[in-house]
Amino acid sequence: MKLTPVITEHWDDPELYTLDGYKSHGGYEALAKALTSDPDSIIATVKDSGLRGRGGAGFPTGLKWSFVPQNDGKPHYLVVNADESEPGACKDIPIMMANPHALLEGVIISSFAIRANHAFIYIRGEVPAAIRKVAFAVKQAREAGLIGKNIQGSGFDLEVTVHAGAGAYICGEETALLDSLEGYRGQPRLKPPFPAVAGLYASPTVINNVETIANIPYIIDRGVDWFRQFGTEKSPGFKVFAVSGHVQRPGIYEAPLGITMRELLDFAGGMRPGAELKFWLPGGSSVPMLTADHLDLPLTYEAMVEAGSMLGTGTPMIFDQTVSVVKAVTRWLEFYKHESCGKCTPCREGTYWITGVLEKFEHGNGTTGEMETLTTLCGQIAGRSFCALGDAAATPYPAAIKYFSDEFTAATHTSADEQFDPVASYVFSGVRA
């Protein structure tokens, strides 16, 4: 399968981030088209395109939009989830830095469709470069009359606010994001009511991922048939895959959904010389790991679920034989423990407990009994926590034990670093004298 650069097509143009640069490649033509059409028809187009959310859950975007009640007398809001914090995920931030106007054009069209007059872009606070790029794009768009009152004479008003988060992974959870945006401490909200009915400021709100929204101008401009020529029936379109880890050329590869990991690996230059793939994760640390046996599966929402994993954010992490699974899983759990918001018991206490046990394994002090304990503890979190953070935290260990139980058994007497020389996994491992 070939690469199909769409959002990334003109990333080699250093001026793409400017309004002129974006326009020179046909930018904002979709907006002109959208503003003259019926908002409902835009919703219908997005529905027909089959576009699925690119933030991880893969919920059909058009369907989400259609849940927003119309003529309800309340303000509507569009909120872009740009709080990309998933370990291994690095696609939204590059999009915002290289092609912020694609996001912005998507924001304007999407807001028009759902009848929102105020959109918010909630960007992870740790990436000021991306925040600056988006803020600059908003400024230019406002000066050009693309944001503000009566956009291009359409009668449609839209205000766009760029908001920086304060460094909490939980604020990538959509309802915690809303709380944070409203000025509260970010913790997930009880559903129902769902955001489409009572979201930001208790008003109907659509929350979409950056990449999802960046898809919109292209779908509106080029049509449903064009979009559906990529991907599969259940996973139509293309995806900005961000390949990281032990590959020759880590980076962004935009390709149709359904491409295999093996093909992506080839684009990324394959494994390091002399290295072989040990395990990989299709989309962030929150999805179960897979092995070389799964390299030929199509990267689609459905195929990944069938293989016991998930497409997630579509940002594959590749690990070679130098990596200790025990250590990798421990790092992830330390992350979830640090980021657990504390609201619900299973996630708060479970991550605390599991991390402590995993650290014993890392130091070669685990017991076989504790392997069993870890399995049940993960079972006590999965499906019982308040939000998906807990489910995510309960994911790495069961997947790891499925393929690499020997390594955990070895960790009952030998530390991870003794089993696997940590330096060997470094990018600069060859530098060692």
């Binding site: 401490r185 640090h338 504390g342 619900c344 018991t345 299973p346 206490e349 605390y352 407990w353 019982r384």
Partner: protein
């Protein structure tokens, strides 16, 4: 389906819980429905009066067709839902067991020294649904402990299970949102912003609703094990809210008080005064009768004191009876009877505070004998609420909470007065600015929009302070009849409403019967088994009565529960007592009065007697003695003995008195309207003042931690006056008698008034200023 309840049709759904078919109102939560059929689902964060958060996950249950277990505390039942709790679902049982195991990971095993041990939901539920042992072998996270969240409430963060009941209570119920959860993950903890104290009149509730021993009170901490306590229900004696409380005692000493569930009144809550101010019950009590001999009080036996008192009263001329706000309904009724039958006088008043003739007329016309005209529940559905001379957060805190509940449901509140308080803010109230003392003008000049919106579904709450604002009560009376809005009078003290109905005020016999009305007289005479002609004619009340005492035209006095410093003319009363021929005091603590009385009888406090208080709604709230072995006599008991010594039979039995009073059904005959009283607000700056909930009240003595939660004594002035005074750090307010200097607080105050607390540390306005609410004072920047 629908069911009919109180003539109201309610939509219902049919569900099955653990195989039991049920029909429940639409919107019912699984956990509530399960309770109804006796199925107890474990819970920590769930509280029926707080919005669900589904945070603790202890209540996970299985629903047919739903793959994951769901929290019963947040799951609304829908038609046909088949729910399986831990009793019939392995999934639910395992899920609950898992959550319980997690909850104990970071919980210290200090049950043997924890206040909650023995009544701890965590302990109990860990035993019922938890594993027999824990698999956790790691290190528990620790915090320094305990830390104060305010002077009275201590927090042990290690014990906290992050259920967020306390923080939700603070935000949703009290409106004091300064208690919050801070930090993340296992480090999540309860705290306050910038370590400022949790400033709330309702802070003790968080101790009660805490499902573990994380929140404890300074007053009860390490005092007792719950299983060593005897618990008895009681009615709070501190104000006219009429809260149901629970008194816990051990070996004859009250160790703590808790809010008792009373859905009609205080729901599950109490204020900090009701909860913590009980040290006075035991401290500094008068232990035996005292008689004055050669100018000195000495102990005497009961018979000696009785004969002494009887002889003294018989020898004296015209007499009077003053009974303060601590009296129960039955005791007040006994005073009412004692005055009319034994002493043959109608010189009688229960209002040991600023009062007026206008108020007496108002009470006779609108309040006496009218029960449950306006209730707590009515507040929730009222169209409009008007507050006049009434600061609910300070003067009836539980009514304040109900108002907040109403406001959340869309009730709009207007407050007429000189200060827009913190409490007004928490009620999102609209402020009708009025100079203190000129409320009558403000009422007559109310916006036509507000008046137009008043209807029979609106409530006008008038506080006892309105009596100090000439013309205010007659204006309220007119507003009520003009709009149909219902009027509710909210006195501050627990005994006042009952004393009014018991007829403990000149001019009114029990049940609101005018003493001047022949039918009323004969009804009462029949119940009292006396000749109607022997009933006295209308006597003196309030200020006139005190003046008469001072001038000696009444020469004998029976007095109980009165503190002269509560009266604007307290000095006159003291002078009168000193001059009087004979003074009988019935009291439980020494006071300015007992020191000057001819004879003092000790009487029972609430824990030692049964009785009832009538709250502002006119609702009777009976209670029985906590200590049945108590040897003290009630006021009624003493009066009965005294009557007997004076050869009059007067039943002093509480139950008999209540029965007799109840037989005197409320007066249905004609009532006199309130006269149109002249409005005369003084020129210049007037004094705005009321009693803060936590202040220097004598019944709050002996509880320093509670006292430390009091709001500071300040002088509140408007920004304009602050400017005009030259932005001083302290302000001096001067009245006829003297001055008070306190730190400045710029607030939303009428430009023509200045506010200071009535009876707080360094601010005792009658004693120090010599004037009261609505009266002229001078204000100057800086110290005197």
């Amino acid at each position: 389906m629908t069911i009919v309840n109180h003539n109201e049709k309610i939509d219902t759904v049919n569900v099955v819980i653990d195989g039991i078919e049920m029909e429940v109102p639409k919107g019912t939560l699984v956990i509530r429905a399960a309770e109804q059929i006796g199925i107890e689902i474990p819970r920590f964060c769930d509280h029926p009066l707080l919005t669900p958060v589904a945070a603790c996950r202890a209540c996970l249950i299985e629903i047919d067709g739903v793959p994951k277990p769901q929290p019963a505390c947040a799951q609304v039942l829908s038609e046909g839902m088949n729910v399986r709790t831990q009793r019939s679902s392995e999934m639910a049982r395992i899920a609950q067991e898992g959550v319980m195991e997690f909850l104990l990971v970071n919980h210290p095993l200090d049950c043997p020294v924890c206040d909650k041990g023995g009544e701890c939901p965590l302990q109990n539920q860990a035993m019922t649904v938890g594993r027999p042992d824990s698999r956790f072998e790691g290190e528990k996270r620790t915090f320094p402990k305990p830390i104060n969240v305010n002077a009275e409430i201590l927090l042990d963060r290690e014990r906290c299970v992050s259920c967020a009941r306390c923080t939700r209570f603070a935000e949703e119920i009290a409106g004091d949102a300064s208690l919050e959860l801070l930090e993340r993950g296992a480090q999540q903890q309860v705290g306050t912003a910038n370590d400022e104290p949790f400033d709330s009149y309702f802070s003790g509730n968080v101790v009660q609703i805490c499902p573990v021993g994380a929140l404890t009170s300074a007053s009860y901490r390490f005092r007792s094990r719950p299983f060593d306590l005897v618990s008895v229900p009681t009615t709070c004696e501190h104000c006219a809210s009429g809260c149901s409380l629970r008194t816990d005692y051990r070996r004859g000493t009250v160790t703590r008080r808790l809010a008792w569930d009373d859905p009609e009144v205080n729901e599950d809550w109490s204020c900090d005064k009701g909860r913590f101010a009980f040290a006075y019950l035991a401290n500094g009590r008068i232990e035996s009768p005292l008689i004055r001999e050669n100018g000195e009080l000495r102990s005497a036996s009961w018979p000696e004191a009785m004969h002494f008192a009887a002889a003294g009263l018989a020898a004296a001329g015209t007499s009077a009876v003053l009974v303060g706000g601590r009296a129960t309904v039955e005791d007040a009724y006994a005073y009412s009877k004692f005055a009319r039958i034994v002493l043959g006088t109608d010189n009688l008043d229960f209002r040991a505070r600023a009062s007026s003739t206008e108020e007496a007329e108002f009470l006779a016309a609108h309040v006496a004998g009218r029960k449950l005209d306006v209730t707590y529940t009515d507040i929730e559905t009222a169209s409009q609420v008007l507050l006049i001379g009434f600061e609910p957060e300070d003067e009836s805190p539980i009514l304040f909470l109900r108002l907040r509940k109403g406001v959340k449901r869309g009730v709009s509140v207007h407050t007429v007065g000189p200060l827009y308080s913190l409490g007004s803010e928490k009620l999102s109230a609209h402020w009708v600015k009025a100079k203190a003392g000129s409320e009558a003008h403000a009422i007559s000049g109310l916006d036509s929009e507000i008046v137009g919106a008043l209807d029979s579904n609106s409530i006008i709450f008038v506080g006892e302070r309105a009596a100090a604002s000439p013309g205010a009560l007659s204006a309220v009376s007119r507003l009520g009849s003009q709009t149909g809005a219902r009027i509710a009078w909210v006195p501050r003290r627990a005994g006042e409403r009952g004393a009014l109905d018991a007829g403990a005020i000149a001019g009114l016999l029990p049940g609101g019967r005018p003493i001047s009305d022949p039918t009323a007289r004969s009804e009462v005479a029949q119940a009292w088994n006396i000749d109607a002609d022997s009933l006295p004619n209308v006597g003196l009340t309030g200020t006139e009565l005190v003046t008469a005492i001072k001038q000696g035209s009444t020469s004998a006095l029976v007095i109980a529960g009165v503190d002269p410093s509560d009266l604007p003319n307290g000095d006159e009363l003291i002078a009168g007592i000193e001059n009087a021929d004979f003074v009988v005091a019935l009291e439980n603590h020494h006071s300015e009065i007992t020191q000057r009385a001819s004879v003092v009888f000790p009487v029972a406090v609430v824990t030692e007697k049964s009785g009832s208080f009538m709250n502002w709604e006119g609702r009777s709230k009976p209670f029985s003695a906590a200590f049945r072995e108590a040897l003290t006599l009630t006021d009624a008991g003493v009066l009965s003995m005294l009557a007997s010594a004076m050869n009059v039979q007067l039943n002093g039995d509480t139950r008999a008195l209540r029965k007799e009073l109840n037989s005197l059904v409320p007066w249905s005959g004609p009532r006199t309207d309130v006269n149109n009283h002249e409005v005369h607000a003084p020129a210049g700056t007037t004094l705005a003042t009321w009693r803060l909930l936590i202040d220097s009240g004598v019944m709050q003595e002996g509880e320093p931690h509670l006292a430390a939660t009091a709001r500071p004594s300040v002088v509140a002035v408007s920004a304009a006056m602050f400017e005009q005074l030259g932005k001083p750090e302290v302000i001096t307010v001067t009245g006829p008698k003297g001055s008070i200097t306190l730190p400045t607080q710029v607030a939303e105050v009428s430009n023509e008034s200045v506010w200071l607390p009535m009876n707080s540390p360094e601010s005792h306005i009658y004693a120090q200023l010599g004037c009261g609410y609505g009266q002229a004072v001078t204000v100057k920047g800086g110290a005197a």
